[in-house]
Amino acid sequence: MKELRNSEKLYDRYADAATALVMDQYLTVFAESLKAEDFAPVEISAALNDRCRKLIRKGAAKELYRSVGKNLLRGASAAVIVFLFLCGVFAVLFSTVEAIRVPVINFFTEQKETASEVTDKDENEYVRDEDVLAGLAPEGYEPQECKRTPDGNLTIRYADAGDGFILYDELPNDETRQIDTEDAVTEEIQIGGADALLVDKEGYRIIWYSASGEVLYQLKCNQLSREETIAIAEAIESRREEALSAESDSDPAESVPSKHAPAAYDNVPPDIPIISDYSQSDQTHGDAYFPHEIHHVDVTDIPVRYSYIVEGAVDSDFYATLFDMTDDEFIWTSVDGEETGNDSIGWTVLP
């Protein structure tokens, strides 16, 4: 005990335990004495009974709210602890176990790609009037993609039922680009009078620059012959030159170019005659003129697919709109209400 005295803290613990024991014994003895006790019955007033019963009911309800609140708090705390624990476990596993890290990263990458596809769906849609390959691809090739990105890159892709594809790119010549010519046969050729590089590796690829040198063109065909590939590149360049000369011939002050029209007219190959006779409209490409008063054009017999251009020459204003083709009837919309001049309809039939 002397030793305990020397340690006040230890002695307090002893005192605490001893007191608890004494008080427990005291309650036990007291309870036993109550059991053995005889007491005279006494009448409890109804008022006290009512008051106490009400207090019990009210107190029990109060305890319920307190208990519910305490349990909810305890549950919420447990949930937070479990969540933090799982986060910790995940963080440790993610940082240390590659077998977990890789699938997780892949999952989010896939999600991102999926989201991107959804987001970019409109951009990836085939935009007919940007398709410089329209009518140039051999039979069996179908357009898969025609997309121009906000920074000016144009990508057009055609593919056949197998593995064959034709890929055309327009890229701003604003950075150094590397072309894979390892184990490839290269040849310097001319496209539209300009120097071009033909690369023979897993198909044929032709690279050439625009006259201004600002744009890099690339055409790749993995299953076409050298001659076919060059022919397509030449045709593309011819269309571009014709479009440029047409633009230079027109008075810029009188022209309000549409977003779609010039590109669509570029699509008409120069070697296919433009016809003005509507009755001969079974050609693959055509152009029919009619007075603007005609607002209904029956195109039942016109083998037109995809879309066509209606251009209204109204005084000095030009206006062009891209329409989707319907099966049997095209309802023409007047350009701006002005009823002068002639209007025209042009179309291109794709393979």
């Binding site: 005990m1 007191t19 004494v22 014994q25 309870a31 409890i44 107190g59 029990a60 319920l64």
Partner: protein
């Protein structure tokens, strides 16, 4: 929603539990109250105050032995009576000296077991009479009624910090008194 329903059911049981305890104890509680307060109205006030306190301690009451519940209820009544009298400034701690009467007189029936029990009671009686009434109240409220320091402070009219200090001193006095009696822990366990 489901846990709430469970809690509601549990509380129904708590209410029934308290009502049963009340029905079984109210007469004895009332008799205890009238020991300390003279008029019937004050005795009823003391009993109803004790009922409120008991409801607050329902979780504790569920845990203790059934035989001790009545003792707990009576002890609560006694402390509420003290609180009642103190509020009316009719009693000081030193005048509240009836505690030792609670312990029963020695039993003359002599079996070994009963002899041991009687020896323990005798020691307890000597111990409780050796420590001041103020300490006994304090220790009862802390160790028997399991009141918080704030509850004790309210009853005794002191600050919670003072409760802790007084408790430490009271416990040391109990330990000293036990030592003076030749207390050995093994004799009690």
């Amino acid at each position: 929603m489901f846990p709430l329903i469970i809690l509601t059911i549990e509380d129904e049981s708590s209410r029934d539990f308290m009502l049963r305890l009340y029905v079984n104890s109210v007469t004895r509680m009332y008799l205890e109250a009238v020991k300390y307060v003279s008029d019937k109205e004050s005795a009823e006030d003391v009993v109803s105050d004790a009922v409120v306190k008991l409801v607050e301690k329902v979780d504790l009451l569920r845990q203790i032995d059934e035989g001790k519940r009545l003792a707990y209820a009576i002890t609560t009544v006694r402390h509420m009576a003290y609180h009642h009298l103190r509020q009316e400034s009719r009693v000081g701690l030193t005048s509240f000296e009836a505690l030792e009467e609670l312990l029963p007189s020695e039993d003359t029936e002599a079996t070994d077991d009963k002899i041991l029990k009687e020896q323990r009671k005798t020691r307890l009686r000597e111990l409780l009479t050796a420590i001041p009434a103020e300490d006994r109240l304090l220790l009862e409220e802390k160790f028997i009624l399991s009141w918080s320091d704030e509850e004790i402070a309210k009853t005794l009219g002191i600050r919670p910090n003072s409760v802790r200090m007084r408790l430490t001193r009271a416990k040391r006095r109990v330990a000293d008194a036990l030592t003076a009696q030749g207390f050995r822990l093994n004799d009690w366990v």
